[in-house]
């Protein structure tokens, strides 16, 4: 007797390989991923000062890098990651007070965080490109 008697689907444990992460979980791991990326990215942005302190030639090279297409794409991704991490970080602060933790409100807050991050990124780049 090798075939199982029941065809009813048994519940699976929420292991990463067999479980589709809900949005709240995706937001959680994205918070960590953007945090790790920002640790490098923000210090990369701030190392602009190292170039400026070294003199005018290195400053010009750094500014040319920052205004190049690759530099602009990097800055765009940096700003998007930053705004996401910032908005989700504010939600973490609210979570710390015991609010927004219920399933329904947590899901709604996901969309608020994503929308806020998109709006902030878009308006920053609108200002940057039209300044």
């Amino acid at each position: 007797m090798s075939t199982p008697e029941t065809t009813q689907k048994r519940p699976l444990s929420p292991h990463l390989q067999v479980y589709r992460l809900p949005l709240t979980a995706l937001m959680s791991i994205s918070h960590r991923a953007t945090g790790a990326a920002l640790a490098i990215g923000t210090l990369l942005v701030l190392s602009f000062f190292l170039a400026a302190a070294a003199g005018e030639e290195t400053y010009d090279i750094a500014m040319r890098c920052a205004t190049s297409t690759l530099g602009q794409i990097t800055l765009f991704l940096w700003s998007a990651a930053l705004y996401f991490h910032m908005c989700n970080g504010i939600r973490h602060m609210i979570w710390d007070t015991g609010r927004l933790l219920e399933k329904g409100t947590a899901m709604k807050a996901n969309y608020v965080v994503i929308a806020a991050a998109i709006i902030l990124t878009a308006s920053t780049w609108y200002c940057a490109l039209n300044y």
């Binding site: 945090g35 400026a52 500014m63 910032m86 970080g89 300044y131």
Partner: protein
């Protein structure tokens, strides 16, 4: 840590000898993460505003902007707060994913030194520009 001599405390000595159990640094880590997060918020918004304002600026324009006391002070505060926050986050990630104890300790110490060194270098650069190169 309060002492309770009337209570028998099992495992206490072997736990201390082996260095296991809570180090009682968790609250400080959490609190500093929150405090630097609160500080990062206005400082980073100001950084983005400054980057937008200074895009394509010449060397002279940049140096003039950076030499203003308020800009230099805010930038130094930003470097301290951001590097501290980044270091705490990096430590948590290391603690979660590196299971080898020796490697984990080495990585945490390395990250600590890296972020301190980088912050020192950037702060020195800011001061050098502010005090006239």
């Amino acid at each position: 840590m309060p002492q309770f001599p009337e209570k028998k405390r099992f495992n206490e000595h072997i736990k201390n000898a082996k260095g296991l159990g809570s180090a009682h640094h968790g609250v400080e880590h959490w609190m500093m993460q929150k405090i630097t997060a609160i500080a990062n918020f206005p400082l980073v918004m100001w950084l983005i505003y400054s980057i937008v304002k200074l895009q394509g600026a010449s060397y002279t324009e940049f140096v003039t902007w950076q030499a203003q006391p308020l800009n230099a002070i805010l930038m130094i505060l930003l470097v301290i707060s951001v590097s501290y926050h980044a270091r705490l986050g990096a430590q948590v990630i290391t603690e979660d994913y590196i299971s080898c104890k020796c490697l984990r300790m080495a990585k945490i110490i390395g990250q600590k030194l890296f972020f301190f060194a980088l912050a020192a270098a950037i702060i020195f650069s800011i001061l050098k520009i502010a005090f006239g190169g």
